[in-house]
């Protein structure tokens, strides 16, 4: 405490002088390349005891043994970019960070504080190039102006999850079209089951339904166009309205298990894992989030969301590495990333952390086999059609408030259109 006190008063004398000047206008930061390349700092989104952390830590140890470069890892947890953001202007930055693509894009890329990873994509991974290991189907989704800002190491795919043991005939031939789907849901409901589980207090989970259905009917990137419309009128087009009515129909028909409106996460997904509801529309963390607590004999199965139009899509989102532009040991960080993409390390994201990797050649965990197959056979799209990452704040202030009410049956399609139109005009007014 004494030490603190002394340094505290030293600080005081320094800072009183600089208080009003505040040095806000100083130091915009120099570019990278001043580190010695013998070590690098990595701030990770995982906590020490999570399986992903184990995989990354062991790879870092192997990297140090083979290349003599120490990887100093701080397990910051999910809020890692909240620590990066204030430091971007002049603070000490890590050489390597990871998070999902929406957060990296809105934090690093939006501020133009990321490193262009084009060079890294050409780097060597045990005889191949990074661009050979990471499927272009994923890396194409993490570019700005054609240049990649992220190297994915874990892929999240979105769709319907269900218990193959309880619904073997669905597992054998999952519904492909919206009408097949609603027929199945009606039959299940008539049989006394609760067809759909939804934690409706999470705006994104509600939006997966609406945006997913719109992607299927209109094609990918179309919702993104709707969101871009300054007047909000684009949502009123008849083909959009028809799909919205299909989605509203889910609530009207009572397909969602009780508690989707008025419950609290994770109550609905818990019920689903206990076999009290049939389908859960969610990302591929569904097995890992519920797996430890699921009913005995639960077999995780995946089906792409049936389409209200011609095409089914698998919405995906990558978790991956990014390098701040001012990183001091950017080259070393790139070498570590390329090293991590080798099969013996990246493969453990699948075998140990039970997740999908961006390398289609690697084996996949059993519970994700259906998803892996779907990512090969169906076209991919961005989750929520990319509106979250392209237009920061749009989902919270525009899409979710209107959409929550639609999914809860609190409003009809006209009410939804009125609300989203008004909120979208408001959003673009301030984000010109």
């Amino acid at each position: 405490m004494v030490r603190h006190g002394k340094r505290g008063s030293a600080l005081l004398s320094v800072t009183v002088a600089s208080a009003l000047a505040l040095s806000l206008t100083a130091c915009a930061g120099s570019d990278s390349g001043s580190g010695d390349g013998r070590s690098l700092t990595y701030w990770s989104m995982w906590k020490e005891n999570e399986p992903q952390a184990r995989v990354l830590r062991e790879a870092a140890q192997a990297f140090e043994r083979e290349h003599g470069v120490r990887v100093v890892i701080q397990w910051q947890g999910r809020d890692v970019l909240k620590k990066v953001a204030p430091a971007l202007r002049g603070g000490d930055l890590p050489d390597l960070v990871d998070q999902d693509q929406a957060l990296v894009r809105s934090t690093l890329v939006a501020a133009d504080a990321h490193r262009d990873l084009t060079g890294l994509y050409a780097a060597d991974v045990a005889g191949r190039k990074v661009s050979d290991v990471v499927s272009a189907r994923y890396s194409d989704l993490v570019r700005r102006d054609g240049k990649p800002y992220l190297v994915p190491y874990e892929v999240i795919g979105y769709g319907l999850w269900f218990d193959g043991a309880a619904l073997p005939e669905v597992a054998a031939s999952p519904p492909g079209t919206w009408s097949e789907f609603t027929a199945l849901l009606s039959a299940r409901k008539a049989a006394g089951a609760a067809p759909l589980a939804l934690d409706g207090d999470i705006g994104q989970y509600n939006a997966l339904w609406t945006v997913g259905a719109l992607q299927g009917a209109l094609g990918k990137d179309k919702v993104n166009e709707l969101a871009r419309d300054r007047s909000g009128e684009a949502w009123r087009r008849p083909e959009v309205r028809a799909v919205l009515d299909d989605v509203a129909g889910l609530a009207r028909s009572g397909f969602f298990a009780a508690g989707h409106n008025g419950g609290k996460w994770p109550a609905a997904q818990e019920k689903w894992a206990q076999g009290q509801a049939d389908f859960l529309l969610m990302g591929s963390w569904a097995p890992s989030e519920t797996g430890a607590k699921a009913r005995a004999g639960f077999q995780y199965r995946f089906a792409a969301l049936p389409s209200a139009g011609r095409q089914r899509y698998v919405p995906v989102e990558s978790i991956g590495f990014a390098i701040p532009r001012r990183a001091k040991n950017a080259e070393a960080a790139e070498r570590f990333v390329a090293y991590f993409l080798r099969d013996e390390h990246l493969g453990r994201i699948s075998s140990v952390a039970r997740n999908l990797t961006p390398n289609p050649a690697l084996p996949v965990p059993d519970e994700l086999a259906g998803l892996a197959e779907a990512t090969r056979s169906l076209p991919l799209a961005r989750v929520q059609d990319g509106v979250a990452e392209d237009f920061p704040g749009y989902v919270e202030e525009v899409l979710w408030p209107a959409n929550d009410q639609l999914l809860r049956g609190q409003t009809d399609v006209d009410g939804f259109l009125g609300q989203i139109g008004e909120k979208q005009v408001n959003y673009w007014k301030k984000n010109r």
Binding site: A111, D201, G259, G262, E396, E397
Partner: protein, 337 residues
């Protein structure tokens, strides 16, 4: 109540008019001493004057460096568009103009005011009621300690509990509702989330402000009440003519504290988002959440520091006006006893 307050004459010692009726005047005429008028010329006062700056300096320095400086910087930032990294782009009063036309902000501001007034009035009314009930109740110390307890538990826990209580259809509240009335209760979290949040805030704050007000009421000498009892006063009369005027200063100060600190209510509302990474629904945001949602919050943060600063400036300005008004309305002569 406040309308009846006596306008303050500087320096002169006055009793509040409400206790000045002959009947209560006798009860109040006790050995007391005059409040120090500003500029009193006794030696104690002079010595205190000399100590003013040395005593104030350390706290003031910290305050200036860590609040006033950054707050002025934020005021400056509020005239710009700024993502926190690149160059600031001057926009004059543009942020403010947009702000008064932004339905997200206006909703959040309205919620802040609702919390301030509704939660505040309810909390203070309840706190007074509890104080009166507790005054001569057995086990009052224990009760008071228990009532204070929600204040020391992290808000995130309280709202998890709130979720289990109010979720429908199977929450405890609705189970009880069904048992009593046979019908399904309201959909609390789905249709009345803000009401549930208001209720929770009243619960958390009532314990705190009851403690504050009780501490003020406890300082009133018990023999005053005995005098009143002798004079045959009813409970309400005693409250109206003794308790309220003599604890007035404490109440006025507590009201100022509530008004200012209600601005920063954050965690309890935030925790109603689905996960720890999600903002709660837009229609329950207050200004503090708006600031967070416009900077760090959400699944794709906006980092609009200029705009967020403008919203904070507006809210803080509005509340400062309210505080000044409140102090003016509640000002009465100090009754020392």
């Amino acid at each position: 109540m406040a309308g009846k307050a006596v306008a303050a004459g500087t320096g002169a010692r006055q009793r509040p008019s409400s206790v000045d009726s002959p009947r209560w005047g006798a009860a109040l005429r006790r050995p007391g001493r005059a409040a120090l008028s500003p500029g009193a010329r006794n030696p104690l006062d002079r010595r205190r004057r000399r100590l003013f700056w040395p005593f104030l300096a350390p706290a003031l320095a910290l305050y200036v460096v860590f609040f006033v400086g950054p707050a002025l910087a934020s005021l400056w930032i509020s005239f710009h568009r700024w993502d926190g990294v690149g160059e600031m782009e001057p926009r004059g009063l543009e942020n403010y103009r947009i702000l008064f036309d932004d339905s997200s902000f206006l909703g959040a501001f309205a919620n802040t005011m609702t919390i301030l007034v509704l939660v505040g009035a309810t909390t203070f009314a309840l706190s007074f009621a509890l104080t009166m009930v507790l005054r001569d109740m057995r086990g009052r110390r224990f009760v008071r300690a228990v009532l204070f307890f929600p204040h020391i538990v992290a808000p995130v826990v309280l709202s998890v509990l709130w979720g289990f209580l109010f979720r429908s259809p199977e929450g405890l509240v609705n189970s009880a509702w069904r048992a009593v009335s046979g019908a399904d209760g309201p959909n609390w979290l789905g249709d009345h989330l803000f009401a549930v949040i208001v209720l929770g805030l009243v619960w958390v704050n009532t314990g705190f402000y009851t403690t504050v007000i009780m501490a003020g009421v406890d300082r009133i000498p018990p023999d005053l009440y005995e005098d009143c009892a002798l004079a045959g006063a009813t409970g309400w009369q005693r409250f109206r003519h003794v308790t309220l005027p003599l604890s007035w200063e404490v109440v006025a100060t507590a009201a100022v504290l509530w008004t200012i600190s209600s601005l920063k209510i954050f965690e309890f509302v935030y925790a109603f988002g689905g996960t720890t990474n999600d903002m709660p629904p837009l229609d329950v945001w207050n200004s503090a959440l708006f600031v967070y949602g416009t900077t760090f919050g959400g699944r794709s943060p906006q980092y609009q520091y200029g705009y967020a600063s403008a919203s904070a400036v507006v809210t803080l300005a509005a509340v400062t006006v309210l505080v000044v008004l409140l102090r003016r309305l509640m000002r009465r002569e100090t009754v020392q006893f």
